[in-house]
C-alpha cells in the first residue's frame, strides 16, 4: 500500500474569533516520521486533539488509511489504529507502571465487559505489558506507583502506554520535553527503532531530535502550514527561521 496512512484536508478549528487551525492539509505516509513544528500557540496540540477527536473540527476531513474518521468518537479512532501521547502527562496515578501499560493492552484486546477473573492474575496480559516496558526501558520500575515517578519517567511511560494500544499511527506531543540528555537520546533511538512498525506524527520543540528523526517536517504558524519538506529544506527556509528557529547560534 502506498497511499498515506493519515490524510488531513482543509481542517479548520475556531475558538470564538480565534482561528486555531486554519485550513491545515497534511499527510503522514507509512513508516514515516512526520514532524510538526511551529511557534508556541501555533495550533499543534489543537490539531492533535482534533485528530483523536477530543475536539470537533469545524471544517475539513480526516482520513485514516482511506477511511473518514472525522465523525467518530475518540475511542473508535483509537480502535482503528490511532495512538497518542500527551504534552502534559496523562496517566493513571494510583496504578503501578505495569498496571498502566496492562490496562492499555487490555483495552486494545477488545471490550472489557468481563466481570470474572482477576486481571492482576492474567499472566499473558502482564507479560505483554512488561515487554512494552522493556522496549522503553522502564521495566525496572514496573511495580512503582505512577505518582512516585519523576517527570522524565512519566514521559517515558506515556510512550509505553501509547505503544500498548498497538497503534499504526502514533501522535506524539512533545515526547522529549522534560527529558534529560541521555533520556532524550534514548528516546530518539527508541522512536527510530519503532519507525518500521508505526508511523508517527511528531510534535516537538527539541530541534536536535526533530532533525534526527523526521523524514519530513511541516511548519505550522498561526494555524496554517507555511512549509513542508525535508529537514534540510526546512532548516534553510527563511520564513521558518524567522518564525520559529530564530537566528541565534544555538539551536538546542
Amino acid at each position: 500500500m502506498s497511499g498515506p496512512i493519515l490524510s488531513v484536508r482543509g481542517l479548520v478549528k475556531r475558538f470564538g474569533g480565534l482561528v486555531a487551525t486554519d485550513g491545515v492539509t497534511i499527510d503522514v505516509r507509512p513508516d514515516e516520521i512526520h514532524a510538526l513544528i511551529g511557534p508556541n500557540g501555533a495550533g499543534k496540540t489543537t490539531l492533535i486533539s482534533q485528530l483523536v477527536g477530543e475536539l470537533r473540527h469545524d471544517a475539513g476531513t480526516i482520513e485514516l488509511e482511506g477511511r473518514d474518521i472525522g465523525a467518530l468518537p475518540t475511542a473508535r479512532r483509537i480502535g482503528l489504529g490511532l495512538g497518542r501521547t500527551f504534552q502534559i502527562t496523562c496517566l493513571l496515578p494510583e496504578y503501578t507502571v505495569l498496571d498502566n501499560v496492562a490496562t492499555g493492552v487490555q483495552v486494545r484486546q477488545g471490550h472489557s465487559f468481563r466481570f470474572w477473573g482477576n486481571v492482576r492474575g492474567e499472566t499473558a496480559l502482564r507479560e505483554t505489558a512488561l515487554s512494552f516496558l522493556e522496549t522503553i526501558g522502564l521495566a525496572g520500575r514496573a511495580d512503582e506507583q505512577v505518582a512516585n515517578l519523576s517527570h522524565g519517567e512519566q514521559k517515558q511511560l506515556e510512550l509505553a502506554v501509547a505503544l500498548a494500544t498497538e497503534p499504526r499511527l502514533l501522535l506524539l506531543d512533545e515526547p522529549m520535553a522534560g527529558l534529560g540528555h541521555s533520556e532524550s537520546r534514548q528516546m530518539v533511538a527508541l522512536l527510530m527503532a519503532l519507525k518500521t512498525k508505526v508511523s508517527m506524527l511528531l510534535v516537538e520543540h527539541d530541534m536536535d531530535a526533530v532533525f534526527a528523526l523526521a523524514d519530513r517536517i511541516s511548519v505550522l504558524v498561526y494555524g496554517r502550514v507555511i512549509a513542508t519538506g525535508t529537514a534540510d529544506e526546512i532548516r534553510d527556509n527563511a520564513d521558518v527561521r524567522a518564525a520559529y528557529l530564530g537566528e541565534g547560534d544555538e539551536l538546542c
Binding site: 500527551f86 472489557s112 502506554v161 494500544t165
Partner: protein
C-alpha cells in the same frame, strides 16, 4: 504474603463471628443485636453498591436512595396487590414470594438505574452529584404523593416475603438469609472489582482522558457500573422492606442518600469491605448512643469528625494501619 495470610485469618474470624452472632446475642441477653446486625448487613450491601460507582468508578451519586427506596417499594407494592388480590396497573399480579420479588427488584432497579444513569452520565463532577440527587428527589415526591401506596405515611407490609417455607418472621432466620445474601453479594463484588471490568472502572476514576486515549468508550462502562450499583442498592432496599415490613418515602429521601455516602466514607472509599464496616459502625453508633442519651447526635457528630480528621481513609484505613499494613 504475610499480609494476605493475616487478611485471610481475619476474614475467617469475622465470618465465624457473624455466623455465631445470634447465639452470642441471646446468650449475652441482647437478642436485639441480631436485628441490629441484620440492618448493618443490609446497609452494608447498599453502601457497597454505592461504593462501586463512588469509590471505584469515581461517580459520586447523591441519589442512591432512589434505588434503595425503589427496591423497598417493589416489595411493598407487590405485597399490597397480593393481599388485595388485584393487579398492579391492571397487569401485574402481586406476590409475597422473595424468589419473585428479589428478581423483580433487580430488574426494576436496573431499569431505573439505566434510565437515570443514561441521563446523568452526560454530566460529570459536581453536576453529576446534583443531577442524581434531582432524580431521587423526583422519585421522593412521587412516592409522597402516591396515595394508593400510603403516600407519606408509608406502606405497611404485614408479612415478610416467603422463601422456601422458612420462618422469615423469625429474626434469626431472617438474619441468616441476609447473611447468606450479603456473602454472595460481596463475593460477586470482589470478583467484579478485580476483573477486567473493575480495572477499567478504576482507571476511569483516576483519569478519564487517559482511558479515552486508550480507546475505551467510557460511557457504556460507567453506565453498566451504575446499573449494577443501582441493582445492588435495590437489593438492599428489598431486604430492608422485608425486614422493616414497611416501605416509606423516607427510604428515598436525600438524607438517606447522604447517610449511605457517610457510611462509605466512614468505612473507607474504594475498598471492598469498607462500606460494610462503615455501615455497621454507623448503625451501631446511632443505636448505642441513642440509648445512652437523647443528645446522641452530638456524640455521633464528634465521632464522625474524629474519623475524618484523624484516620485519613476511614475505619478500613485505621484497621489497615493497626494491622501494620502498608498504606
Amino acid at each position: 504474603m504475610d499480609n494476605s495470610i493475616k487478611k485471610q485469618i481475619l476474614l475467617a474470624v469475622v465470618a465465624v463471628l457473624l455466623l455465631a452472632l445470634p447465639f452470642i446475642a441471646s446468650a449475652t441477653g441482647y437478642p436485639a443485636m441480631t436485628s441490629l446486625a441484620t440492618r448493618a448487613l443490609i446497609y452494608g450491601i447498599a453502601a457497597a453498591s454505592l461504593n462501586l460507582v463512588l469509590g471505584y468508578g469515581g461517580m459520586v451519586s447523591f441519589g442512591h436512595a432512589a434505588f434503595f427506596g425503589l427496591g423497598g417499594y417493589v416489595v411493598g407494592i407487590l405485597y399490597q396487590h397480593y393481599t388485595q388480590d388485584d393487579l398492579f396497573l391492571g397487569l401485574v399480579p402481586g406476590t409475597n414470594q422473595l424468589l419473585v420479588t428479589l428478581p423483580v427488584t433487580l430488574i426494576v432497579c436496573g431499569a431505573a438505574a439505566a434510565l437515570i444513569g443514561a441521563l446523568s452520565l452526560r454530566t460529570g463532577g459536581v453536576q453529576f452529584i446534583m443531577i442524581t440527587l434531582a432524580f431521587a428527589q423526583m422519585l421522593f415526591f412521587l412516592f409522597v404523593s402516591l396515595k394508593t401506596y400510603g403516600g407519606d405515611d408509608g406502606l405497611i407490609i404485614r408479612r415478610t416475603n416467603e422463601l422456601f417455607g422458612l420462618k422469615m418472621r423469625d429474626k434469626q432466620t431472617y438474619y441468616y438469609v441476609c447473611l447468606a445474601i450479603t456473602a454472595v453479594f460481596f463475593f460477586l463484588l470482589w470478583r467484579l472489582v478485580n476483573s477486567r471490568f473493575g480495572n477499567v472502572l478504576t482507571g476511569l476514576r483516576q483519569n478519564a482522558r487517559r482511558m479515552a486515549a486508550l480507546g475505551l468508550p467510557a460511557y457504556r462502562y460507567k453506565l453498566v457500573a451504575f446499573i449494577i450499583s443501582g441493582m445492588g442498592a435495590g437489593l438492599a432496599g428489598c431486604l430492608m422492606a422485608n425486614f422493616l415490613r414497611f416501605a416509606s418515602p423516607d427510604m428515598v429521601h436525600w438524607t438517606k442518600s447522604g447517610e449511605l455516602m457517610v457510611m462509605v466514607v466512614l468505612g473507607g472509599v474504594g475498598t471492598l469491605f469498607g462500606p460494610l464496616i462503615g455501615a455497621a459502625a454507623y448503625i451501631v453508633l446511632e443505636s448505642v448512643l441513642a440509648s445512652w442519651t437523647e443528645y446522641w447526635q452530638l456524640g455521633l457528630g464528634f465521632i464522625l469528625l474524629f474519623v475524618v480528621l484523624y484516620t485519613n481513609g476511614g475505619i478500613e484505613a485505621l484497621f489497615g494501619r493497626l494491622l501494620g499494613r502498608r498504606v
